[in-house]
């Protein structure tokens, strides 16, 4: 996190620290980037059985726990989406019915809403967060604000869930401070079409963790924009606009896109904030899974698994696109 405080170039490890204190997904970045540049160790293990046994002893428990509580459960979901149960303990069988059930209007709406909300908050978050990062961390930004911004972003990116929702209820809810202040000067928030408990509201709340995440993600790329490039462009007579159009933005483009994709995934998998604001009554994919799981709706658990399969598919695609773009974007940073 201390990266932006001083302009010294540091190894990629510190991006990692920055991302670590950020959102889940942010870490993913770095680990992929980092595994690529793994430093070979001088001494490898002797390929004898004792060496393997010790390896098993040290690494085995971690792998077993991951298998038992992450990988196998994920597979159970994937498989369950294609199964049906037999009656009275009879063996079930395979079916595509649950996947077909996903075409029911409420789930299509849920998927559409989820994509719309995540997409919108990702685009706005990328633009607003990018501009904020540039305003503070870019050349000529207020130096005293850098460290506080990075620290605040690290914290705010993690400040999702129930308390965040309640903070906005206290501010923009029916009896919220800002709502009451506005009504004093004759502005009725609710009549203007804004409500904290539907899309417009969720968007405003989601941006509270999306913008800081963007700041954290884009900071390394912004620092990778070297002053010399700008000076070279200026010496050749380029205006600021030309610099950005032909040099700055093309270099930043992969990083910007990668961050946008990650922001999308970040919003797409969010559950707690939306649940706390709407009591789970909005048609969003994670909320629908939650409803099926906790038995609020009468339905087949396999349907919940089919919905979860959909989420895993979207998230896997997101992470794949992200890691490709990230690799392309890190080309200029060294």
């Amino acid at each position: 996190m201390e990266r932006s405080a001083d302009a010294r170039p540091e190894p990629p490890a510190s991006d990692l620290d920055a991302a670590l204190s950020a959102q889940p997904a942010a870490t993913a970045v770095v680990s992929t980037a980092e595994t690529l540049s793994g430093v070979p160790r001088p001494r490898a293990a002797a390929p004898d059985w004792r060496g393997h046994l010790t390896t098993l002893l040290f690494v085995g428990p971690l792998l077993v726990v991951m298998l038992a509580f992450l990988i196998v459960p994920a597979f159970a979901v994937l498989v369950g989406a294609f199964r049906f149960d037999g009656v009275d303990g009879a063996a079930g069988g395979w079916t595509l019915q649950h996947i077909r059930d996903l075409a029911q209007p409420q789930y299509v709406t849920g998927l559409k809403n989820s994509i719309f909300l995540s997409g919108t908050s990702a685009i706005i978050g990328t633009v607003v967060g990018g501009l904020l990062a540039y305003a503070v961390l870019g050349e000529g930004g207020p130096a005293w604000l850098r460290a506080p911004l990075v620290a605040f972003s690290g914290v705010a990116a993690n400040f999702a869930g129930v308390p965040l929702a309640l903070a906005f209820v206290a501010t923009l809810g029916t009896t919220g401070i800002v709502t009451r202040l506005l009504s004093v000067i004759g502005l009725d928030l609710n009549r203007s079409g804004f409500s904290l408990f539907n899309f417009s509201g969720l968007l405003v709340v989601y941006l509270y963790f999306q913008i800081p995440l963007m700041v954290i993600l884009i900071a390394p790329a912004l620092e990778g924009l070297r002053r010399e490039w700008r000076e070279a462009a200026e010496n050749l007579g380029a205006t600021a606009g030309q610099f950005w159009r032909h040099i700055g933005l093309p270099i930043l483009a992969p990083s910007l896109l990668a961050s946008a994709v990650l922001l999308f995934g970040n919003a797409f998998s969010a559950y707690a904030t939306a649940y706390a604001l709407t009591s789970g009554n909005l048609a969003l994919l994670p909320l629908q899974i939650g409803a099926v799981l906790s038995g609020n709706v009468i339905s087949d658990p396999h349907l919940g698994q089919a919905l979860a399969l959909l989420v895993i598919a979207v998230m896997a695609l997101t992470m794949a696109i992200y890691s490709v773009l990230e690799r392309a974007g890190s080309k200029w940073r060294k």
Binding site: E2, T32, A44, P61, G161, A170, I177, Y271, I312
Partner: protein, 259 residues
């Protein structure tokens, strides 16, 4: 010159708007938590929250689960990360990739998988301890990355050889040599895990366990001002943890031939 002035004003304006967006909800929550109806403002909401036995109960539960998660994660991650860094760099890729997996499987999906797979025994699935399994997995990317970074800053080769030539076994080496050397990484990962577990809502809510976050949500549905007070308290806890972690991350431990 003029252009510069315009640019600076624009920059300042933008930062100001952003500051407003980020500070107003916090201020709003703080003011709201002091509101006692009408135009009266006092600390009654805080008193009410602190006197609620449910507050202590749920907080103690979440805090206990956090400690369990931290201990279990460390017992799993430190030996693995140590060994991979010392001897089998080939496994590094694998562990790195695996730690990303829990982003692809969001909590709401993970909890679905866990309930599908584990229907018993009751002493495991029926108690909040079941949550620890999920929490270990959810916090793994953070604990793994933080501890791995801490370990990488050490000259493990030299440390291990020195310790072993003095006659210590693997256990002594890990406990007495390695662990003290990654103290800051351990503290950082602990605080991060603590913040994650205290704020975790999805798993507990779906599995119907009454943890701190679930309690906050319950208060939020029923009582306005105490909910704001409670959110502020939980926010303060998280922020202190995060800020301490940022501070700690600054001084990285180095030993011997600093690389």
């Amino acid at each position: 010159m003029r252009q510069n002035l315009v640019a600076q004003t624009g920059r300042g304006l933008w930062i100001g708007i952003m500051a407003l967006y980020f500070l107003v909800p916090l201020l709003g929550m703080a003011i709201y938590s002091l509101w006692a109806g009408g135009s009266k403002y006092d600390l009654s909401a805080y008193v009410q929250i602190l006197q609620d036995p449910k507050f202590h109960e749920t907080f103690r539960l979440s805090f206990g689960l956090a400690i369990e998660t931290i201990v279990i994660s460390f017992a799993l991650v430190i030996p693995a990360a140590f060994w991979v860094n010392l001897r089998v760099p080939g496994l590094r890729n694998l562990l790195g990739q695996l730690s990303v997996l829990s982003f692809v499987v969001p909590p709401i999906v993970l909890v679905g998988g866990l309930t599908t797979l584990y229907k018993g025994p009751e002493w495991f699935v029926g108690t909040p301890q079941f949550l620890v399994a999920g929490y270990v997995v959810l916090s793994l990317p953070y604990t793994y990355r933080t501890l791995d970074t801490g370990l990488r800053a050490l000259d493990l080769q030299t440390l291990s050889e020195a310790a072993q030539s003095l006659g210590s076994g693997w256990g002594t080496l890990l406990w007495r040599v390695i662990l003290p050397n990654i103290r800051s990484a351990v503290l950082g990962a602990s605080l991060l895990t603590l913040a994650i577990v205290l704020g975790e809502f999805t798993l507990a809510n779906v599995l119907l366990f009454n943890t701190f976050a679930v309690y906050i949500n319950y208060i939020g549905q029923t009582q306005g001002t105490p909910a704001a007070a409670l959110s502020l308290i939980s926010l303060a806890i998280t922020w202190v943890a995060m800020l301490v972690m940022l501070r700690v991350g600054r001084g990285r431990v180095q030993l011997g031939g600093a690389k």
